[in-house]
Symmetry: C2
Subunit: 157 residues, 2 copies
């Protein structure tokens, strides 16, 4: 794992650009990095074959689509060995978009996206309540998302 084999500065620069805008053409990206479009193509193909890049995803303004509520849920389990079975059940709830098994207070840290508070309430009370193994939960509703960016993989010079 992690084996950073053969990833040079050009690869990282390509990744850095495409993480912000994957729609830029190989020609334009090549101009910025002083290489030919063919070279950009070869590098991206290598990164795809490596599994380092996994395709591209549309970036959507969820508020404009009516999804106004982002919430984080800290989940306490009755026993931490229940992690796998609880995670499997929670995965079935479509509003849950992310789950991490974490150190610290909570066993599972989840993020969910809902249209409104009523839907959030329904997920918490109707759906999560039914999952066996959850002791209790703590909910943090996001009032404002002040930052959401990609990691910086290149070094400044």
């Amino acid at each position: 794992m992690a084996a950073n084999l053969n990833i040079d500065k050009l690869d990282l620069q390509i990744i850095q650009h495409l993480m912000q805008d994957a729609n830029i053409s190989y020609a334009d990206l090549g101009k910025k990095l002083f290489v030919s479009p063919g070279t950009v193509h070869v590098r991206i193909k290598k990164l795809q074959d490596n599994g380092i890049v996994n395709g591209t995803r549309l970036h959507v303004d969820l508020k404009k689509l009516g999804y106004d509520v982002i919430a984080f849920i800290g989940i306490y389990l009755e026993k931490s060995s229940l992690y796998d079975t609880v995670a499997k059940e929670l995965r079935k709830i479509p509003e849950i978009v992310r789950m991490n098994y974490t150190t610290g207070n909570y066993s599972i840290f989840a993020e969910l996206v809902c249209k409104d508070i009523a839907q959030l309430r329904s997920v918490l009370h109707d759906q999560m309540q039914k999952v066996k193994g959850i002791e209790r939960t703590e909910t943090f509703i996001s009032l404002e998302e002040s930052l959401n960016r990609s990691v910086q993989v290149t070094v400044e010079e």
Copy 2:
């Protein structure tokens, strides 16, 4: 805000597909949804003009790039009115990729991505320690990310 004007089922289906794979061609997407490539194009253009879709982003396997540590930080502020100034300072730390102003225990909920535990320690002790207005922090290190997906914007039938 949110004004869902003129977003129909086809728009949502297009968004749903492109959130998973933004590289599919308009032709192939049109085939799946039983419309022409031209129609797909017109709809996507409308969604871009609306600001509902904001371009595409490369999806990267951070572990393979050597970023092994994802951590969540709950931040207590001395006064919650300090939110803006603290957020502005934290934004300068490149390892911090996300910040939300939340209800509940913490004032700010941040996510950060590091190469290793040593780097995490350095961010927590050297960089965040210097920011005025932070009372204390709680760190949750992700041992496993068991889910990371897009919201579901279409209804099953």
